[in-house]
């Protein structure tokens, strides 16, 4: 089938408004939330129903065409972009919350359901969906499953994997299987665990069954500001060492604070501070104020200038909005942005941040750091002007050095954004060739033809079977 014939065949399934085939209308799908990557696809299909998705994937299987599942396109690893001739399957029209079962605290949703819409729908039952990535107002549950997304509250409540109990998966060959079980553990291999975080390489989630969590009885949200990152890091370590498990501990550095304060989401962070900590405690009303006082004392001890507790829900929401929209506010600093994602042992936070500052100074770039301090998940954001070739080059050099510094400190290359295209080159820093090969073989079990999100997650040269192909031999 030619491209045009394929487009017509897809139109026959989803209707004329469900296929994008002209270069201009494919342009908006050339990027996700990471503006440094632009890969215009050659064809995209926007199914409106579950049956559309199944029929589309079966057609592509028959034709041997690769595909890339895409949700809201808010990912930060260029994972939802099309490599080569892969067809983008946009799942953002499948937004239904199929059912909410307040008694068993479960919900079944379509893959395009927006994260926050589930929490809103569950609110009437005093429940919520715990994983809350910063993009929760836009990102989809399907995308969260693909990336095994975290969010500030995963410190206490766990990541997406801990909240997904079952997924109906459409395999790349068109078969439909169920992984996991809404009623509890399933015997056999934990394929659900393998699927969550597989970045669209194992197939498409047709529906996802997730756990809902009761809203906490009491919440205390605190803001502590410091004149140095080190002091903020000391406070974080002290709180964790004390045995108190906050729902979240988030840190932002001076440049980030100032970008947020200039935005519509200004949260009232002190603009002259070099670090703020946003600490949230939740649980039973009894004892929470005592815990809050202890945390307050630990922050003061570590050098906090002020520690204030949000007086009401409105102030609490404002403090959180500032944190969650921080990355989006970077457009105020410069036109383009590299968002990084790394994890380091929490105790190494001050040294790694010092190293990052040295790297930034050496390459003459500005790094704005946002991090989930409680679990050491670091997001150094570098804003720059993409029209300045020299600056772009320096940014990329610095980024590599930062990633290496995180790995050298005993950390890893992604906490929650996934590998996608962006982190491919770092995979060999973390995994031995044998480990990478094992991942390739797992992928082959789900998708032997490698048609689902090709070219992502595992560098293709790490796959032994690929190395045995004529193409690889020719390259060698």
């Amino acid at each position: 089938m030619t491209r045009d014939e394929l487009a017509d065949a897809l139109r026959a399934i989803v209707g004329p408004r469900g296929v994008l085939s002209r270069a201009s209308e494919l342009l908006p799908l050339s990027a996700d939330g990471l503006p440094t990557y632009r890969l215009p696809p050659t064809l995209a299909v926007l199914p409106s129903t579950r049956q559309h998705v199944i029929d589309v994937v079966r057609l592509l299987a028959r034709e041997g065409v690769a595909f890339v599942p895409r949700g809201a396109g808010t990912g930060l690893s260029a994972g939802a972009l099309a490599t080569g001739d892969a067809v983008i399957i946009g799942l953002n029209r499948l937004t239904r919350i199929i059912s909410i079962d307040p008694v068993n605290r479960l919900a079944v949703v379509e893959p395009g359901a927006v994260n926050v819409s589930l929490t809103r729908a569950a609110a009437a039952h005093g429940l919520h969906y715990a994983p809350d990535p910063s993009s929760q107002t836009a990102c989809t549950i399907g995308g969260n499953v693909a990336e095994n997304s975290g969010g500030p509250h995963c410190l206490k409540y766990g990541v997406t994997l801990n909240h997904v109990v079952a997924v109906t998966v459409l395999l790349p060959d068109g078969g439909v299987i169920t992984l996991g079980d809404a009623d509890g553990e399933t015997p056999g291999y934990d394929l659900l665990g393998a699927f969550v975080g597989s970045e669209g390489c194992f197939g498409i989630a047709l529906d996802v069954t997730v756990r809902l969590v009761p809203d906490p009885q009491a919440v205390r949200t605190m803001l502590a500001d410091f004149m140095s990152i080190e002091a903020g890091a000391r406070a974080t370590s002290a709180v964790i060492a004390s045995g108190i498990l906050p729902a979240a501990i988030e840190m932002m550095d001076g440049p980030t604070i100032r970008a947020v304060e200039a935005s519509i989401y200004a949260a009232g962070y002190p603009a002259d501070a070099e670090a703020v900590l946003l600490i949230e405690l939740d649980g039973l009303e009894a004892g929470i104020d005592d815990e809050a006082r202890r945390v307050q004392a630990m922050c003061t001890e570590a050098g906090a200038r002020t520690v204030r507790i949000a007086r009401d829900d409105a102030e609490r929401a404002r403090l959180w909005q500032g944190r969650k929209k921080a990355f989006g506010a970077m457009g105020r600093v410069a036109p383009a942005l590299v968002v990084q994602d790394a994890v380091i042992p929490r105790t190494r936070l001050p040294d790694v941040l010092r190293t990052i500052h040295e790297i930034a100074a050496r390459w003459n770039i500005q790094v704005c750091n946002v991090f989930h301090a409680g679990d050491g998940n670091l997001h150094p954001n570098i804003a720059f002007d993409p029209h300045d070739a020299d600056a772009t080059d320096r940014v990329h050099h610095a980024m590599r050095e930062i990633m290496r510094a995180c790995v050298d400190a005993g950390g890893t290359i992604t906490g929650e954004h996934g590998v996608g295209l962006d982190k491919l080159e770092y995979m060999p820093l973390i995994f031995s060739p044998e480990s990478l090969d094992a991942q390739c073989r797992l992928r082959s079990a789900f998708d032997p033809e490698r048609r689902a999100n090709p070219g992502k997650v595992v560098p293709v040269h790490a796959c032994r079977e690929w190395l045995a192909t004529p193409a690889a031999r020719a390259l060698a």
Binding site: S30, T137, G328
Partner: protein, 408 residues
Amino acid sequence: MTCVHCGFCLQACPTYLALGDENDSPRGRILLVRALAEGALPLDDPDVRTHLDRCLGCRGCETACPSGVPYGHILEAARATLNETEPPPRLARAVLAMFARPRFLALALAGARVLRLTGIARLLARLPGRLGFACAILAASAPPLATRAYVPSARGVRGTVAVLAGCVMRGLFAHVNRATERVLSTNGYRIVSSPGQRCCGALHAHAGDLAGARALARRNIAAFEQTGAEHIAVNASGCGLMIKEYGHLLADDPAWAERAAAVAARARDVSELLADAGPAPGAPMPRRVAYDAPCHLLHGQHLARQPLAVLAAVPSLDVVPLPNADQCCGSAGIYSLVQPLLAQQVLAPKLTEIARAAAPLVATGNPGCMMHIGAGMLRARIPARTVHPVELLDASYAAAHGATPPDR
């Protein structure tokens, strides 16, 4: 301020929610406009035109954007550029031309009033298609409250106010204009007359006819300068936003830039002026009302609290929450005429929420929204009417003056 493509605007965009295509989302349109600007796409690319035409210009995305991208200005500039290669559709041009000609417009609106008064509009409102909806829009503009005029105790301690008469407001909502004057007087503002006003130019600017908008703006600036009033009160939020943006519109015109900025700085939504004054409470009105925020009031002028303060001044008024009241109703100036199907699609979820709220009144401070939502309710047989917030306050003041009860 540049778009970093974070996607936080997607769920704030009514057309993305209705169509599920990133081409019909703010960041998608920004990519398309950027491609035009960089020459990657030709100016006559039909896809770019289609997706820009589908934008309501509600600016909901600006409220969601952490980077503060001035989307509305990007859209207007892009439309102006596209208009150079291909003019907008004939219907849009005809409507814009009519709004630029006061006598012609007055005649058309007088005709519309006849259709409304004779009940013909209401009779035809259930006809299918564009004609039926146009009649429903007209029928929905009739006053929902029978309020007898009263003489406000004018004190004038808060300064002088020139009221923007507005085109649709003057032609179809004269009762709201009278109410605006009475409630402002009651709250201590002294109304001064302001002859020589024209259409504010908002419809022209949104459609990319920036030259037309500038010509109208200059006439209004001159007219308002003549009044010497401290404030320019506007009771149509779309017009209010336009006047507040006169400084931006004429920034490149050295003869007018400063004057435009000065007039823009004096423009206030009527709810702002009233909120500044309290406003004074009236007589109790035990009615149930849902509030829907006009986009150009909430997202354009960032006024969320003030209209609610107006409603709060009416004792025992039961203001019920309307979920997603911050989302566009689909009216958007002449959008409901030039994109009738999509305008209905955008309106549909709002009508569902209104039916659920079960309030006989829906308050909103913009004539387009009043008519579009009102028409939708009429055709969907939802037993509710739209009302301007100042009408409720005015009825409450009238009752306090011992006039007829604010109901019929």
